[in-house]
Each structure stands twice: as structure tokens, then as C-alpha cells.
């Protein structure tokens, strides 16, 4: 196992060569904001919050998909990056109807936490106020598109871990929506196994257990990681 030495925020760090900059930074206790990334799922580099500056590369690089390299010099928290992150979080808040006060995930929401992390005291952009559906047709779960940030965690959890691929994304641009099967009500989906992995994966209050009321939607995200580890390493099978 080859080891690479790199510098992240002036800190000399050694990492395994297959690690990403994000993993290496986390192990060293340096936190980089993320949203679409979730341990156990494949990385897509879509939310752009984990972008970092790498010396010698003109473009900002997503920490979640960039592999460590020998001698790499990374800056994760420059003023410029902080500005960009705040703008992206504001754009996400403005894009759908995120009313924290009446959200099942209030207090346990990664988007809300990001707001704090980037120091967002208000949203400068115009709220788009799109019309979004709430689908409560599934007997155990619900999906509220008002709160979806299109991180695709549900799509990946369903595809990569459960193998059902009930979820996908329809449309494009800001009109994109996550869908179950042929955009039919979730409760009528033939492919859904009701395993609840998408519920565990969702960072906001978009996918929730039915019956949860304001602030009640907490998730045990380690369960997903547990399943993935068990499957990949098979360490509990004699």
C-alpha cells in the first residue's frame, strides 16, 4: 500500500494512494463542507461545495473525486472558497421551498447545517418558489420535493446498495425531479423494496418516515456505511 505525502491547509499529511483529498483531510481532522457526498456511496462531484484549491491546477477540484498525489498542496478554506460555498448554499435555499421551521428534519438537516457552516444569515437571491408535490402514497415513507436538493443520494443508495434502482432523476436543469419508477406514486412502485435506504441517505427533509412531525426526522447514517462494509469486506462470514 503506497503512501503519499501532501499538504492540506499548511498541514503535512500522509495518506494512502487510493484515498481522495476529502478522505485524507477528514482523517487529519480538517473538515470540508459536502452535500452530495455520503460515505458508502459512489462520488459524483455534483454539489461543488467540497471544491478546493490545488497548487498547480488552475481549476478548482472537488475534494471528493480528486485522488491524493505526492507533494500535492491543497487549500480548503480560502476566502474565495468560503464566498463560493456561501453562494452555492444560498442558491440551494432559493431553489426550492425550504421552510426550516415546519420541516421534519429541522435540527437534523445537512442543508441547514451547511447554512451555519458557511455563515449564511440570509439568502440574497430571489426565492424561486416552485410548485412541488408531496407524495405520501407509500405506506411507510414520504417524499417532499419542496425540500429536495437533487444530491442524488437516494438514487445512488437505491442503485448501489439495494440494487433496486427505483429512484432516478427526470427532466433537466432546475426542473429536474427525483422519481420512482415511471414517475408514478411511490406507493405504486413495482421495484421499490421498501428497504428505507433512501430515507437514511437523504440529507434534508425530502425523504422521511411517515408520521414524523417537525424536527423528528433523525437518521442513523452509519447503517448505510455498515451495510456497504459488510458487503464489500465480508468480514463477519467465517
Amino acid at each position: 500500500m503506497a503512501v503519499k505525502t501532501l499538504t492540506i491547509d499548511d498541514q503535512l499529511i500522509s495518506a494512502r494512494e487510493e484515498q481522495t483529498v476529502l478522505e485524507a483531510a477528514r482523517e487529519a481532522g480538517i473538515s470540508i463542507p459536502t452535500l452530495c457526498e455520503l460515505h458508502g456511496l459512489g462520488d459524483i462531484g455534483a454539489c461543488r461545495l467540497c471544491l478546493v484549491e490545488v497548487t498547480g491546477i488552475a481549476k478548482l477540484q472537488p475534494a471528493c473525486t480528486t485522488r491524493v498525489a505526492e507533494g500535492m498542496v491543497v487549500v480548503t478554506n480560502s476566502q474565495r472558497l468560503q464566498n463560493y460555498r456561501r453562494m452555492i448554499v444560498e442558491l440551494l435555499f432559493a431553489e426550492r421551498n425550504h421552510i426550516c421551521a415546519v420541516c421534519v428534519a429541522n435540527g437534523h438537516c445537512e442543508l441547514q447545517d451547511l447554512g451555519l457552516a458557511v455563515g449564511m444569515d440570509h439568502v440574497r437571491y430571489e426565492y424561486l418558489s416552485p410548485q412541488c408535490q408531496v407524495d405520501l402514497s407509500h405506506e411507510r415513507f414520504g417524499v417532499d420535493h419542496n425540500r429536495c436538493v437533487l444530491c442524488m443520494r437516494c438514487v445512488r443508495a437505491c442503485d448501489e446498495i439495494e440494487g433496486a434502482h427505483t429512484w432516478d432523476v427526470m427532466g433537466r436543469g432546475t426542473a429536474s425531479r427525483v422519481i420512482t419508477d415511471l414517475k408514478q406514486p411511490w406507493g405504486e412502485s413495482q421495484s421499490c423494496t421498501s428497504c428505507g435506504k433512501c430515507v437514511l441517505a437523504c440529507p434534508t427533509g425530502a425523504i422521511f418516515r411517515r408520521g414524523s412531525t417537525v424536527s423528528e426526522m433523525e437518521r442513523d447514517r452509519w447503517q448505510l456505511d455498515f451495510i456497504v462494509t459488510a458487503r464489500e469486506k465480508k468480514q463477519w462470514i467465517i
Binding site: 434502482h165 427526470m170 427532466g171 415511471l182
Partner: protein, 146 residues
């Protein structure tokens, strides 16, 4: 589908053929394609709604596509869209109530030399004006009513 050996990666080709055959992509058809190609239904739906070419609703008997490429735009193509919208009360992407005419817009049909370009039922026609566009549509509607 047989021609594509039921390969999952031929999904877009299959959707093209299906739309050509049936005019639009109905849910049942999408489900059939999904099962035949062994692709998840949500994936099929996701692909069908990603590309502007595919339509999930029946189209009018005739189609009128106004090109909104830069050259046509500079030469006033939006006025053609407005003229039709006002006259028939349909917006771009909609079909008139009698099912005769679908109004569509395109991102450049590559006929910039004769801008603004209008495609009537697949035939490109140049130098569109509010008058000649309305005239053409009126002809279709009258044919339909007769």
C-alpha cells in the same frame, strides 16, 4: 429492439424508433422498453424526459417549429412565437385545443442563412413573418375542419 440486440445502451436509439412509430412515448410503451432492455423504469423515464426530442404526450396533427437560434432570434423569431401564441392561445410546447397544431421551438435548425426559419411538418421554410406563419397555420386548421 431486436436490431439493437436488446442492449441497454441502445436505449436512446430505441426511444427514437418508438417515437417514430407511435408519435409519442406512452407510459405503457416506456415500461415495455424498460422490461425488454432490462433497464430500470425510472432510468427509462429519466432518459426520455432529459432529451427535448422525446414527447410523452400526443402531438398535434401538424407541427410548427420556430427556430430560436441566435441568427433567427436576431431577426425576430420571438415575434413569430408571440403571434401564434396570441392567435391560437397556445404556448411553445403546447398543442391547440382541436389537436391540429403543435407549436414547438428549436435551438437552431441550422438554417441560419434563411433566418428566421420555421419548420412546418418537418419541412424547413425560410424568412418567416408573423403574417405568413399565421396564414400557413390557418390553412391547416381549415383542412382539419373540412
Amino acid at each position: 429492439m431486436k436490431r439493437h440486440q436488446y442492449q441497454a445502451d441502445s436505449l436512446i436509439e430505441v426511444l427514437h424508433s418508438a417515437q417514430q412509430l407511435f408519435g409519442y412515448l406512452e407510459d405503457g410503451l416506456l415500461l415495455y422498453i424498460a422490461h425488454s432492455l432490462h433497464v430500470p423504469p425510472s432510468r427509462v423515464y429519466g432518459v426520455a424526459t432529459f432529451y427535448h426530442f422525446f414527447s410523452l404526450k400526443p402531438q398535434g396533427k401538424h407541427s410548427c417549429v420556430i427556430c430560436l437560434g441566435t441568427a433567427c432570434y436576431v431577426k425576430g423569431a420571438t415575434q413569430l412565437v408571440d403571434a401564434i401564441s396570441q392567435t391560437y392561445g397556445i404556448k411553445a410546447g403546447q398543442t391547440s385545443e382541436d389537436g391540429q397544431v403543435s407549436l414547438l421551438t428549436a435551438r437552431c435548425v441550422g438554417a441560419c442563412g434563411i433566418a428566421p426559419a420555421v419548420v412546418y411538418d418537418g419541412t424547413v421554410s425560410g424568412h418567416g413573418t408573423s403574417e405568413n406563419v399565421i396564414e400557413k397555420l390557418k390553412g391547416w386548421r381549415e383542412d382539419g375542419a373540412a
